[in-house]
Symmetry: C2
Subunit: 386 residues, 2 copies
């Protein structure tokens, strides 16, 4: 399926990417995805660290369920990771004791693929803002007025909030105004909201179901017009199987790990973004915002000139479909090095399950490189031809 | 129905009260109320200025409809008044040209007895905050998350918002925190939310329908615990007829003009409020917040010791029922003087229809007192025994 133009390949070395918004579906729904398949899909997309959402079965809402999820990840993951805790109606006071092993708190303020919903429950919101440690991010699924509402709480409690998957004009203009007014807010956009509209949703039928919905061209254009204020590109990788998506009750969610970098690099090719923008939004900003420890000697080799068409079924995710099937893109991940080890090369995962590590845990990450100051090392900030 | 204890009457002179939230139902639904019956009910409750909401038929959403409403009011009102303009999806840019004759902008952000709803439409909210004159209040029907959301806009645009009928704990704690953080927000509570809960709603059946709903005792207690942060007591007088309220599809809304002062004075009797609190929340704060011109020589005579039971059918409103029927209260309006003329005395309206005047209009209010500096005049701030 991959048709390189070998006569003009430009290999660049980029830092390993960070995706702050993925759904690994394990525990509980491993027919959709598991920590091995999901983290393999991440590597194929050039992503060496994923932050996993808590709407699994069971939900990750306390120390015990977090320990369960982290144990599964530590056994199976081939990329590094962090894990969110989920805010429920009743866990605000007890969550902080488990926060040390988590990358952040996730609050679901609108209906989506979860039962972890605290929509319109402003009393509970206040509780979480009071109790959750000040130095750990709060990430919100907050659309339209829910977004404005939770940004008020960010201001009232003088703390940081990160907004997941900005999709609408009203949302991005509210965020831009909030940033300009000094509110401590960051945000991410998903490639599907940057590239698709409700017309695509109509064309895709059940497969087009996603939350936030695909919306108007005007909304998509507002995201691009304010792209400088969008701190992160995150996939919201939310895999469901083809038969689930093609059923009468298609659950919302798109897979995205294997296609996000190529989609963004295609925008570089078209001049809408610089390569530095992509590295900032897919690595530097996520690392800074989520205070993710550096992963030493971690790089990806990308062929910027490789042109390919997104296939019917990307290789690694159990989702086995893509909303972008048929889209022509430029830029292919050749090799991934994670903490000194080549973990992915030309479509093959080379790392053993469990090589990935929790970057927010008590245990120090394993590394196969001796961190010697006398050894000249490529710093990941550099974008250099290989 | 009124059983005075004549042996112990304490007559006080208070300033004429201001109710910043009433529904006069005219134009369009004069079987529920009209400007004469509604303003007569106001005088009976000691209220000499009402601010009327725009959800009439037609809705008051531009200069022409505002002129229509003001003309009706000027013909029939026996108390002074102001009128709101209503925010719609499409009138943000054109409203300011009519703002000079209005007391403020009303935004309906939740479902209630109106079609003027812009719930969750954050793009439209931004438009109104951009266009509406900075020196005129924006009043919001905003419950729960809508309230938090619109307070963010107050902060982003650095402008004043007045919150109608605060009803829930989450709402008052959000407002208190916003005030402490320096956001320019004021608020009102309605007597029914200060005195009743969902148990009363259950008891009252269709008559118990109101928006915001009657809620938990915990919500009511949170209002009292934060009573110092509640700037105004406003009735949200929203009359419907008995047969409408007793029908299968009871519309939401309570009458309140004839009972609010007595309910509040009963709290003074019980020591929960001072008389000064009542005057502040029912006159001084509304006047300051809405920049209402002074009404010279305007006073009410109240017998603080008169005890009475709220009747099945208060006298003046066409609603002809009350959610407070049977409640024993202390404090009765004996006489109302409006701009030098006795307009109400012991149950009788003495003013001619049309004596009331628009306090926000271009025309100066008529007054029958010569405003001479040599004449010693009672200033309305004084609370004195008569
Ligand atoms: Zn608590
Ligand atoms: Zn989400
Ligand atoms: Zn998600
Ligand atoms: Zn970096
Ligand atoms: Zn405009
Ligand atoms: Zn209302
Ligand atoms: Zn109202
Ligand atoms: Zn005064």
């Amino acid at each position: 399926k991959i048709c390189d133009r070998l006569n003009s390949s430009t290999i660049v070395l980029l830092p390993g990417l960070i995706d702050v918004h993925v759904h690994m579906r394990e525990p509980g729904q491993t027919h959709k995805e598991d920590w091995y398949s999901g983290s393999a899909a991440a590597l194929a997309g050039g992503i060496t660290c994923v932050l996993a959402m808590p709407n699994t079965h069971p939900e990750i809402i306390d120390g015990d369920t977090l320990a369960l999820a982290l144990e599964l990840a530590e056994q199976k993951a081939v990329c590094d990771f962090g894990h969110y805790l989920g805010a429920s109606k009743s866990n605000a006071a007890t969550l902080p004791s488990a926060a040390g092993n988590a990358c952040g708190l996730k609050m679901y303020l609108n209906e989506t693929f979860t039962t972890l919903m605290i929509a319109n429950d402003v009393e509970t919101w206040h509780e979480h803002f009071e109790h959750w440690p000040h130095d750990k991010p709060i990430v919100v699924h907050a659309e339209c007025q829910s977004l404005a509402a939770i940004l008020l709480l960010a201001h009232l409690y003088d703390r940081h909030v990160h907004v997941a998957h900005v999709a609408r004009k009203a949302e991005i203009i509210t965020i831009v105004k909030a940033k300009k007014r000094g509110i401590n807010v960051t945000c991410e956009a998903a490639p599907h909201h940057l590239f698709m509209t409700q017309e695509d949703a109509d064309r895709l039928g059940g497969r087009g179901q996603v939350r936030p919905c695909l919306v108007r061209a005007e909304d998509r254009e507002a995201l691009w017009a304010n792209i400088e204020y969008i701190d992160c590109i995150a996939t919201d990788h939310a895999p469901h199987t083809v038969s689930e998506k093609d059923s009468d009750r298609a659950p919302p969610g798109f897979p995205g790990l294997e296609t996000s970098l190529a989609l963004m690099l295609t925008m570089v090719k078209q001049g809408r973004l610089s390569l530095q923008d992509v590295v900032d939004k897919m690595c530097h900003n996520p690392r800074r915002i989520f205070n993710i420890p550096e992963q030493p000697d971690t790089h990806i080799e990308v062929d910027l000139d490789a042109e390919w068409e997104i296939p019917a079924s990307p290789r690694h995710s159990k989702a086995q479909w893509s909303p972008f099937t048929g889209t022509k893109v430029s830029g292919l991940v050749r090799k991934v090095r994670l903490r000194g080890q080549v973990v992915y090369s030309d479509g093959q995962v080379l790392a053993e399950p469990g090589y990935g590590t929790n970057l927010f845990g008590q245990r120090a990450p394993r590394t196969s490189v001796v961190d010697s100051p006398s050894l000249p090392r490529q710093h990941h900030h550099a974008v250099s031809a290989g």
